[in-house]
Structure formats: C-alpha cells, structure tokens
Point group: C2
Chain length 267, copies 2
Amino acid sequence: MRDKLLERKSGVALWRQIADMIRSDIASGAAGADGKLPSEMKLAERYRVNRHTVRSAIASLEQEGVLRSEQGRGTFVRRRKRLSYPITRRTRFSAGLGNQAGSTSTRMLESHEEPASETVADALGISAGDPAIRLETISDADGVPVSRATSWFDATRFADIRKTFEEHASITRALASCGVRDYMRRSTVVEARHASAEDIELLGLSAGAIVLVTRAINVDAEGKPVHYSETRFAADRVELKIDNDDQTAPTSARSDKGPLEPGRHRP
Amino acid sequence: MRDKLLERKSGVALWRQIADMIRSDIASGAAGADGKLPSEMKLAERYRVNRHTVRSAIASLEQEGVLRSEQGRGTFVRRRKRLSYPITRRTRFSAGLGNQAGSTSTRMLESHEEPASETVADALGISAGDPAIRLETISDADGVPVSRATSWFDATRFADIRKTFEEHASITRALASCGVRDYMRRSTVVEARHASAEDIELLGLSAGAIVLVTRAINVDAEGKPVHYSETRFAADRVELKIDNDDQTAPTSARSDKGPLEPGRHRP
DNA sequence: ACAGATTTGTGCGTATGTATG
DNA sequence: CCATACATACGCACAAATCTG
C-alpha cells in the first residue's frame, strides 16, 4: 500500500494497475484488514482517477472472486488466506498443505511418452532423445486449483507410471508402486512469470496473473533421479516456504545408512 | 513458447502481451536461440495481429534494451542471461552471484529507526513496538539493478548498523563490524507479485513487471535472529536456486567450528 | 418513522489510446 | 499516412440501497 503512482500509456490499463495493487494489498494484509475496502470515491482520490476507473478495477476483482460489492454498504474482501507451500528435502503436495486445507487432491490431465529434451534428460540422468513419460497434473486445495505440474519420468524404469498414477492419484504412491520406497528432493529452482493462456484457463486465473514456477529434481535412496517436475503455482494463492535449517535425512549422507523404512518419515 | 493465445479487453494491450511473451521466451531460452527474432510478418501471423502491433511490442523491448532492430537485417536479442541466485544456509549476495557477474555492488537508499511491526518483531525475536532499524538497499550485477531489499535489525543490539553499512557497503561486513562473526539463514519465504511503482522506478522495470519476493530470517552462531529482510528480485533477470541437499555448516552444529574467514566462502 | 449523508449502480457525452486494413 | 472500430478514461448527473442521528 506504500505507493500510488500509476503510469498512463504504459500498455497496461489504469483499471488493471489499480486492480493489481488492490489484489496484492489484500494478499499482503495491507488492505481491508477489517474486511471493508475504502469507498469508491476515496479510492478514486487516492489513485487520482475517475470513479468509473476504480469501478472497473473492482468489477474485475469481483469477477475473480477477490471482492464482493453491496449497494449502499460498500465493497468487502472475500477472505482467502494464502497457502504456504513448504519446500524441503521431503516435499510432498498433500502432506505440505495438509494442515492448511481441509482437502487436497491431484488429478491427471494428460500423459504421453516422448523423447527427452536436453533439459529433461539432464535432470533425469538419461540421454537426450531417450524415452521419457510426461505427466500433466493439476492440484486442488479445498476445491480451488492451486498448482499445475508437468512431471517427467524415465520411461525405461517407470513404464507403468501412468497406470499407477491413475490408480493412486498421487505421485508419491505411484512411485512407491513402481518400487521407489522413498525419494528426496535434490534441488529446486524458483522463477516467476506471467501465466500462460493454458494455465490461466486451468487454474482459473485472470489475464495478466502471475505464476510461481518451481523446477525440481527428486532422487531415490541411492541418489538416482526418479522425477523431474515443473510446477506452476497461482502466485496470489500460494507462497513457498523454504526451511534452510531442514534437518530431514539428507540424501548425500545417507548411502551408508540404507534406505529409509516407512514410518520413519516425519509426519 | 507453447502458447500464442492473446486476450482482448483484458486490460492489457495486445502489444504489451506480445512484448511480455517475447521477453519471457528470451529469458527461458525458447526464442532467439540464434540471436535473431522471426520477422515482423512471421510474428504478426503467429500472434494473429497486425504487423503494427508487433512493431509496438518490439519498439517497447528495444526501449528496455532487450532487443535491437536493424533495418533490412532483422531484430536481434541483446544477450542477457538470467542470473541464478542461490538460496542456502549461507546466502550472501555478492558470493552468490560472484561467478555469474563481473561485478556486484550494493548501495543504501535510506535508513531509519522505527518501531518494529508485529511481523518484524516476530522475526527478530523482539517485541512489537521495540526500536528497529530499517535499511533500504539496492543491488546491481554488472551495473544492472537486480534486487531491492528492505532489511530490519534490532536497534538495541545494532545501533551502529547504518554507519557500518555505509563504510562497508555490505550487510555481511556491516554485521561483522557489529560483532556478528558469522550468520546463517534460518528460513526463506518466496512469493511473487506485480512490482510496485517504486520498485519499477528503482529497478528499471516496465509497467506490469513481476518481482520475486523473499522474506528471510538470518541468525547468528547462537541461533539468535540478527537480520530480517524482504527482497524484491526482478523476475525477468533472476531465478532462485534452492539446494535442498545444502550441506554448509548447519547452524545447530556449528558452534564448535568457529567463524568463517573472508574468502573461505564457497565460490 | 423520518431526513440527510454515504455508498454503490447506471446512463450519456466526449476525448484519447489501441488495433486493423 | 489515412480512415474506421473499439477499448479506455473522464466528468457529470441521478437512481437505489444502506447507515446515522
């Protein structure tokens, strides 16, 4: 809420700039602490625009489900707390959000075998052009889409991954069915960009929305890559939390320890 | 480069949507691999717009310094690789980017003492309303602004932090001057949002640009918080790399090792 | 119950920006 | 460069719903 300067003829409509500001003010807790937004007139003065322009911004946020206006009463924030998604050695979708959402689910959109690109091959420790299986999934928390992931597996080792995922609706359990008793995250790269039209459609975002993108490599107990993923999180619904003190069994110091037994995992 | 669908009346002009796509395609390496963009006519066909519209997009990217057009030859990418900023227990700005950029620098914009907000107090382990020192900095790599940070320190313990930062132009060295021989990152929260007008101005971004935001807590050898920061990275210039296998001396096991000397930091 | 103030909803005319051909 | 169409932004006015004294 610190700044109110808008840019004209910047290629971004004023109403959209205002909508973006209000949305991020809400997400950061700076606006509508009491659930009520300032009146349209006050907002118009603050941003130094016409009331119509503020109304366009509000209309767009109503469409998104962020705000709700009532004639004669005011404009109110629809409460929606941002989820905190932990990035640890033991990153798991359901377990990570389990305590913040009532229900979580992941479903498959599509799956195909395809030759591995340079990037994918590098991540999975195979050769470019080797067969890989691509798995497109989307994940919900409390019925709201949260993230969309593209996963790749070594087709030689995980020929059945599509079938086992369909059975279990979980990558962790699908890998377990394929003989991977446990896996750990080796590295995560985070970037942010505008959502593609496809992600806007599937995640139910609005034009110009932002996605947090993670590219992750998961390895088995022997340190061999089993799963490479690119996940797009709706940036206005999720933040990533990195525990730099993460003390869960490190992969590199574990070869002398043998594989982890089920049940040793932290809750 | 997967998607080419543009949205009309989305509040974002077509030329800007196209400019955003081209910019992110360049950042992700999907476009202009050979340094040359497709011709304006080809781009117009791909995005299904008039050539005028493509030209507006290109003009805007030329202004930004991303592209360079030459009459009769074509449009070329000005090389600018995305920096990879490591998030580890031992996160340090200069050391982290040192091998990717020729020079890095951090300078102070402003500093004030102010009562700690709830969030800041919680992070620093003090009480809300206790005096805190806020330090606004901006960091460059090879002369290009990369990130803008707001840091907070316990004013009781680090009364001189402003002066020592001015002397050393580095938070690590400023803290060292205040008796903190070493510090470690405890946690990092990552989110993404549209850049504020102020950050657009100071980081030299374009309207509608995205910033990656990290909120980090750094602790001393005894595990006591010494530094809380909120850093905004220009999302089209930087990605964050998390090494989930990070084996740098964990804070919990480091009191017996003594402080690190300058230059001992890993490359 | 009432009047007046506040707030959102709606209509219309006009000027400028954006996109096409 | 022009003509055309539509989206955006503004200013003013007034209606409808709600709150306050």
